[in-house]
């Protein structure tokens, strides 16, 4: 090859290299610029999402606090931030980025998170915020059923939106994601699951409420009051009842009566075999004993049948309340004067009804006083201008404490209530193991008012089959005086000494669990035993003298493969329980 030829060839090679370098440089610059752009947009999206998360927390606090004006402004800001995050992750650069290896998954997940939050902010939150809680309260004894139905339609739409968001988030794969994004995604899923639970419940509740209040035809219910002075597993003995009628949102009382008037059934009702093994025929024989079982649906059904035998009418459901509920309501209404001089106040009504009445009045006087109190409180509810929010929180507290229980005779309505606290059902399967401590009076007296109870549940070792040891320490103290109580209070005095309170304590293991040992004041104690709703039950007799304290310790096993922090289920009493759950690390760690 000539020298010229060589030079030309070298020049050509150099030009080629130069072109290649230039092309490479341009491609590299484009790639860096693209990555930089996606990174910048990602940083923007992150900032918007963080703002949105903060605003969502603020919004929830404002809704709970009832600050609706501020909540509206927060919602607007939240929508703006969520929209901006959605925009930041919606351009062509981001779209291309999602198709690159390695980073593609993460970018796709961030996009889905932004879309989910934007959807919730635009489609679900506004409805939830618009729902006026006052719609759910009656005015002048009547609830606006038509308005409630309108709210129900909106709630259904919100529920559908939340469910749709959850479905699209569930489709995002979490493997191969950067830790930070994976955590954010998992957290969001948990939050949305909670939201689905709430909107689902609200939707179902708003649907079931109108028929319950007689929108589709009149309904009658038995309203029973649990007398906490004589304890039963669900609270207290069903003392007085009233038949109430709901028609088109308007509720009124038809007649009143007492369990004493129903009296002993000559032909006992048939009782569930498990309950019968524990309590013989008592729950099917006496209205005072229907709730020896803590499973409210069983008690309510028996009481309804007893009422039918007694009065001939069939009711659509049973609602139970107790004097502590009344004390919470009186805090919302303010004091109520009873003709004859007594004034019922929120902080004294429990004592007035459960102690003073028995102590100061004779049988006839008690009847007259209770009737007058009832009329006075009823009157106050209708005429006083009651703060809706205070009333709602009084009811919320009562339901949380399992002091308001409801059972519907219609299976589909009962199913809607499910395992909510209002239903008072003892579940036969549960996500976290629960130990039940239920108290039934065995003295035939009104000493329940003087009892003070506490329970400590300590999580112990992991044992075979994924079971876990639990130790329950229950103490019962009597604050009763040593003398000076009236015959009405002392009643039958079944424990021998009339001032000694005999309490039959039923301890229920978690479903599939077992009771290993029972000790009273450190000594092994004989106990009755049985099974109810897959839980082993032991029945201990605890007798407490005035001023004394007894300690019952029970060693238990949970069911197989138990996970979650154990909890206590307790009989609601006149004086609140002192409780503690001492947890331990999971068996898998």
């Amino acid at each position: 090859m000539s020298r010229r030829g060589r030079r030309r060839s070298r020049r050509r090679t150099r030009a080629r290299i130069r072109r290649a370098l230039l092309a490479g440089l341009v491609a590299g610059a484009l790639l860096v610029a693209g990555a930089g752009w996606v990174g910048f947009r990602g940083w923007q999206a992150r900032a918007h999402l963080l703002n949105a998360a903060g605003l969502a927390r603020e919004l929830s606090a404002q809704v709970v606090g009832g600050d609706f004006d501020r909540a509206q402004r927060t919602l607007a800001a939240l929508q703006e931030q969520a929209g901006a995050a959605r925009d930041a992750t919606g351009d062509a650069g981001w779209w291309l980025g999602q198709r690159t290896p390695y980073a593609g998954d993460d970018l796709g997940a961030v996009r889905q998170i932004a879309v989910a939050i934007d959807d919730l902010a635009r489609r679900a939150f506004p409805t939830l915020l618009r729902t006026d809680l006052a719609t759910l309260l009656p005015t002048q004894g009547r609830l606006d059923v038509a308005r409630l139905r309108a709210v129900s339609a909106e709630l259904t739409a919100a529920d559908a939106a939340v469910r749709q968001t959850r479905a699209s988030l569930d489709a995002v794969p979490t493997e191969n994601l950067v830790d930070q994004i994976r955590t954010a995604l998992t957290d969001l899923r948990v939050q949305i699951d909670r939201l689905v639970g709430l909107t689902g419940a609200a939707d179902k509740g708003a649907k079931v409420l109108p028929p319950l209040l007689g929108a589709d035809g009149p309904r009658t219910y038995l309203l029973v009051s649990q007398n906490l002075a004589e304890l039963r597993a669900t609270g207290g003995m069903f003392g007085a009842y009233a038949v109430i009628r709901a028609e088109n949102g308007r509720v009124r009382m038809e007649k009143q009566g007492t369990s004493a008037q129903i009296g002993r059934l000559k032909r006992p009702l048939s009782v569930d075999p498990e309950v019968r093994a524990l309590w013989a025929d008592l729950p099917g024989t006496y209205p005072a004993d229907v709730n020896l079982t803590p499973h409210f649906p069983t008690a309510a059904k028996l009481y309804r049948d007893m009422y039918r035998r007694h009065a001939g009418g069939t009711v659509d459901g049973v609602l139970a309340v107790d004097p502590v509920v009344l004390s919470y309501l009186l805090q919302a209404t303010g004091p109520v004067r009873v003709p004859g001089g007594t004034t019922l106040t929120g902080d004294r009504v429990v004592r007035t009804l459960l102690s003073d009445a028995y102590q100061k009045l004779d049988g006839g006087g008690q009847d007259a006083f209770f009737a007058a109190s009832a009329a006075a409180v009823f009157d106050a509810f209708l005429t006083k201008n009651v703060n809706h929010r205070a009333l709602l929180s009084a009811f919320d507290r009562s339901i949380t404490e399992r002091r308001i229980l409801f059972w519907s005779a219609r299976p589909e309505e009962q199913q809607t209530l499910g395992d909510s606290r209002l239903a008072g059902a003892l579940p036969d399967k549960e996500s976290a193991p629960s130990v039940g401590v239920y108290l039934n009076d065995g003295s035939g007296a009104k000493l329940g008012y003087y009892l003070r109870q506490s329970a400590t549940l300590t999580v112990g070792n992991c044992v075979e089959d994924g079971r876990r040891e639990l130790r329950l320490r229950f103490t019962l103290h009597s604050a009763a005086p040593k003398s000076g109580l009236s015959e009405s209070v002392l009643g039958l005095g079944k424990a021998g000494d009339p001032y000694t309170a005999r309490t039959l304590v039923s301890v229920y293991t978690p479903p599939g669990g077992a009771v290993l040992a029972t000790r009273l004041d450190g000594q092994p104690t004989p106990v009755g035993s049985g099974v109810e709703r897959r839980r082993q039950v032991v029945l201990a007799n605890v007798e407490v003298r005035p001023g004394a304290t007894r300690t019952l310790e029970v060693d238990l096993l949970t069911g197989r493969n138990s996970v979650g922090t154990p909890e206590l289920r307790l009989t609601p009493t006149a004086t609140p329980w002192t409780t503690q759950v001492v947890t331990a690390t999971s068996c898998n760690q």
């Binding site: 719609t135 003392g239 065995g442 009755g528 068996c587």
Partner: protein
């Protein structure tokens, strides 16, 4: 929005009228007892106050191979008491899992049957003493939830107790020792640590040996 809040409307609605009955909570209770037994009835019906258990099983949970002590009280003096034992499997009655049924509808208890040369009887009788009390020891031969139902043949008195029988394992409450869970890592750790230590000593020795050789060469 909480279900409780929503359903509260019901309660609020009803409770407007509910309050009076709550006030009536303390209405006089059902006339305690003194029920008049009808002519010819063998026993007066019990009053409404529940009493302590009449059949006690000790302990309430055992491991297969151990026995349980049954104590009955409140029966007639010198009475024959029939005790029937029914067995429910431990894992059964999970919701949605219907028990096996015979053609007549009665449930079949499907319990794991352990090897036992003589299965424990499912029905037997005992005699009470003059105070209407009896004790009897029973050694179950199956795992499951055993319910003992004692019926006084003359008095008609019925009482039940339920015992959980678990698979034979180290019993958590036999001697107060709890079973150790998880693997014992002590021995493997000691052996491994020893081997690592020995390896290090050998390596250091090799280095020292080489260095000394090098000095020798120099």
């Amino acid at each position: 929005m909480r279900l409780s809040r929503i359903i509260m409307a019901l309660t609020v609605g009803l409770a407007v009228v509910a309050a009076p009955t709550a006030a009536g909570a303390a209405q006089p209770q059902p006339a305690p007892g003194v029920p008049q037994p009808g002519p010819g009835t063998p026993q007066p019906p019990p009053d409404y106050v529940p009493g302590p258990a009449k059949l006690i099983a000790e302990p309430t949970t055992i491991f297969l191979g151990k026995s349980v002590l049954l104590t009955g009280t409140g029966f007639g003096p010198n009475e024959t008491v029939r005790i029937v034992v029914t067995v429910a499997p431990l894992a059964a009655s999970v919701p949605g899992q219907a028990p096996a049924r015979r053609s007549d509808g009665s449930a079949v208890a499907m319990a794991a049957v352990a090897y036992a040369p003589q299965p424990a009887p499912r029905e037997f009788t005992v005699q009470t003493d003059e105070n209407g009390r009896f004790t009897v020891r029973y050694r179950p031969t199956v795992v499951g939830q055993l319910t003992f139902t004692a019926t006084g043949l003359e008095s008609g008195q019925v009482a039940s107790a339920t015992v959980t029988v678990l698979k034979k394992k180290r019993a958590p409450h036999d001697g107060g020792k709890l079973p150790v869970t998880g693997d014992d890592m002590g021995t493997p750790l000691k052996v491994g640590g020893g081997l690592v230590g020995a390896g290090m000593v050998l390596m250091l020795t090799t280095f020292a040996w080489r260095r000394r050789n090098r000095f020798n060469v120099n």
